[in-house]
């Protein structure tokens, strides 16, 4: 297997605008949908962000947040190790490489529905609540939805209420409702299936667990807990990187672990654990969590083993003076990849850049907008003057955990200037060093992401027999296991589990329950977003009917759907709440 080329340099910054959002869990590069910097940069820097960018951003940021975790780190470190294998070239390398490749592949597949479910829950259900904990996605939502000059303090009830209202309006917009109806309808790809299964599982967990844990009335606390429960699971870390385990036993252990962990969320002492978790996390975002997070249902031994294995994985990246130069250089690069995973690359596009006497300006390239993107930004030390306007790039980069973001202007692969928004005064030298490191330039990141992706794709595509068969069988059994796990939760949407699963697995999924009544489907989705209100109050029904949402008819329709075997409305002590 040829090693990947990390030194190639394409023309810088020429990545197309992302028509569809995506994230790479290994490098943690995110691309929210349709961000066009030349149009949107001013909004990003001064706030509020353009409304159409916010939900896709919350979605991808939630993925980034999930993978910036113990499990995400283990998966990334295993992939880093696999990428070092071609440089090792010893006899044991091939089977070890196969194990690492298939383990990461299985884990990414296994965690996909729940990841999509969490991201969709953040998009449609997350809101400020009573808990002092504020998740990274919610904190960024408040940044995105307010002017830089008036950043929200979510500990103030008025600010929290304001954000809740903004989010509600955003989610009730026609495009947002339509998107939700789409992913609740027939899945047409594996990704589509992960959206439907994931959301229905996470929403079911929320509906069930919030009955026994009153503090989960705060959807943001629920999101925080479920993310930590699954992604800070040191038991899973131990399985992923246990050197004494063979590939196929490991796959079974991973599947069993996920199924068991989800089932154990229904344990009797969950409320107590959530309280412990909440107390522990009521601290600075960068507070020390190196000894694990309490309240996640992990035994002391499990935690200890997982932490030891994580440490061992991390120690593999240490410099080894006895290693060959190629390996030392690769280790050097990978250590930086690790730091770089904390950054989220939101968007990047070509620009004409001029550096003159220590000042940097950037214009759209091609010049289809009249005004410059940025002017008069101080150049980074050592940046040479350009010969007029040279081809370069502008990027929007943020570090979610610290709330820091900036637009970075560069020429070639190097950053020429960093423009911090007004509210971010004097970021520390470590942050400046990270944002301006050539290896963190979006051009290099994009190239490396593409090289790694191509290498991984070709590994699986070109695997010889019998590995090819093993890969196919492993993927198939992972899919079967995922379906079994999801069916457990789909079954909880009705009184008779089998009937509920049959209804929710029908060809068009939820759409099949609505007898092709589009407005009724939309009404259910809208009323689900309004679940905190008594929507049957006359004052509400009048306002809702202006949107074509007939609550009385919706309640009768819910009874019909219930008769089919799926409960989409719950009577909470006399208040009817729509559940999807």
């Amino acid at each position: 297997m040829a090693s990947i080329c990390l030194a190639a340099r394409n023309p810088p910054g020429n990545q197309p605008v992302s028509a569809r959002a995506w994230i790479d869990p290994i490098t943690n590069v995110i691309r929210p949908r349709g961000v066009i910097l030349r149009r949107d940069l001013r909004g990003f820097l001064t706030g509020p962000w353009p409304a159409y960018t916010i939900q896709p951003f919350i979605h991808e940021l939630t993925h980034h947040w999930c993978f910036h975790s113990a499990v995400g780190l283990a998966v990334a470190l295993l992939r880093f190790r696999a990428l070092r294998r071609p440089a090792m070239s010893n006899r044991e390398a091939a089977p070890l490489l196969f194990d690492e490749m298939l383990t990461v592949d299985t884990m990414l597949e296994l965690i996909r529905p729940i990841s999509e479910g969490l991201a969709l829950f953040a998009e449609y259900d997350m809101a400020p609540g009573a808990s002092p904990i504020v998740t990274t996605p919610l904190a960024w939502t408040s940044i995105a939805m307010s002017a830089r000059s008036a950043l929200m303090d979510l500990s103030q009830p008025q600010a929290a209420q304001e954000l809740t209202n903004w989010l509600l309006n955003l989610r009730l917009s026609p495009d947002s409702l339509s998107r939700k109806m789409d992913f609740l309808s027939r899945p047409l790809t594996a990704l589509d299936s992960a959206y439907f299964d994931g959301y229905m599982v996470v929403k079911r967990l929320y509906l069930d667990l919030s009955q026994s844990v009153p503090t989960f009335a705060d959807t943001d606390l629920f999101l925080s807990y479920l993310r930590s429960y699954l992604f800070e699971d040191y038991g899973m870390v131990a399985i992923l990187a246990d050197r004494d385990c063979n590939t196929f036993r490991r796959q079974i252990a991973m599947i069993e672990r996920l199924g068991t962990r989800l089932a154990e969320l229904y344990r009797p002492n969950l409320e107590e654990d959530v309280a412990t978790f909440e107390r522990f996390n009521n601290r600075e975002p960068n507070g020390d969590r190196s000894a694990g997070i309490p309240g996640l249902g992990l035994g002391a031994k499990e935690l200890e083993d997982g932490l030891r294995i994580q440490q061992s994985l991390l120690s593999e990246l240490q410099d080894n003076p006895e290693a060959e130069q190629t390996m030392r250089k690769l280790l050097d690069v990978q250590r930086l990849w690790l730091s770089r995973r904390s950054l989220a690359y939101v968007a990047s596009e070509p620009a004409k850049v001029q550096v003159l006497n220590g000042m940097v300006s950037a214009w759209p390239d091609p010049a289809d907008y009249e005004f410059p993107l940025l002017t008069g930004v101080s150049a980074l030390p050592g940046t040479a003057n350009t010969e007029g306007k040279e081809s370069g790039w502008v990027s929007l980069i943020l570090q979610p955990q610290t709330g820091i973001f900036a637009s970075v202007v560069g020429v070639g692969a190097r950053a020429a200037a960093i423009h911090w928004p007004p509210a971010i005064a004097g970021p520390g030298p470590e942050i400046v060093a990270l944002f301006s490191d050539p290896e963190c330039s979006p051009v290099v990141v994009q190239e490396q992401h593409e090289s790694i992706k191509a290498w991984v794709d070709s590994y699986f595509r070109e695997a010889p027999e019998p590995m090819k068969t093993w890969i196919a069988e492993t993927r198939q059994s992972t899919q079967s296991a995922l379906k079994r796990i999801a069916d457990v939760f789909l079954g909880r949407w009705g009184e008779n589990r089998e009937v509920a699963v049959r209804c929710l697995r029908s060809t068009n999924r939820l759409w099949d329950l609505f007898d092709r009544d589009r407005k009724m489907f939309e009404t259910f989705v809208a009323l689900g977003l309004l679940r905190n209100f008594d929507v049957l109050l006359p004052s509400f029904t009048a306002a809702l009917s202006n949107q074509g949402w007939d609550t009385g008819r919706a309640l009768r329709f819910a009874i019909q759907i219930q008769a089919k075997g799926v409960s989409l409305v719950r009577n909470d002590e006399g208040i009817f709440r729509w559940l999807i």
Binding site: A19, R20, A21, W22, I23, D24, P25, R33, H63, L108, E109, R112, S115, E116, S178, M181, D182, S185, R186, L188, T189, L191, D192, Y195, K453, N508, W511, R516, R518, F521
Partner: protein, 149 residues
């Protein structure tokens, strides 16, 4: 998976062509697939994301018997107040690799309804009655009384 096309202006409509419907909402596609089931239309995903964690691809609907499916499809769009633009293409490679020599691409334009001129041009397609389509949109085509007699 994807469709590759070689667009051109085609002076005459061949006997055998496929219809490709794009820029259409997912629930509309599911309805069309069901309502026009006898014409065997199929929903396909094009430009499917190469990323494991990403948004699913673009949806299109393809019906191979274009001659037969075009009139009811245009009528369906009209009844549902969906505008459209038609372009003619040569050599379209369908998702899955099959190639059709010619096809009509119908791009849904949402609530932007077609103009009278656009509707009149539909007469060049076999079996399509512009007056009937216009009526379904609630549009009166000037001079249509004569042409429809």
């Amino acid at each position: 998976m994807g469709t590759s096309t070689n667009e051109s202006t085609m002076p005459t409509i061949p006997d055998d062509f496929a219809v490709i419907l794009d820029n259409c909402k997912k629930l509309d596609l599911l309805d069309i697939e069901s309502d026009l089931a006898s014409f065997n239309p199929k929903i396909h995903v094009v430009d499917e994301s190469e990323h494991r964690y990403g948004e699913p691809g673009t949806l299109i609907l393809i019906a191979l018997a274009g001659n037969f499916v075009l009139p009811p499809l245009l009528l369906w769009l009209a009844k549902h107040r969906q505008g459209f633009k038609i372009s003619e293409q040569k050599e379209t490679t369908l998702p899955g690799g099959e190639t059709v020599k010619s096809s009509l691409k119908i791009s849904v334009t949402g609530s932007a309804l077609p103009s009278s001129e656009q509707l009149r041009e539909l007469s060049k397609f076999p079996g399509v009655d512009p007056v009937k389509i216009a009526a379904a949109y609630g549009i009166h085509l000037p001079g249509s009384e004569e042409s429809s007699r």
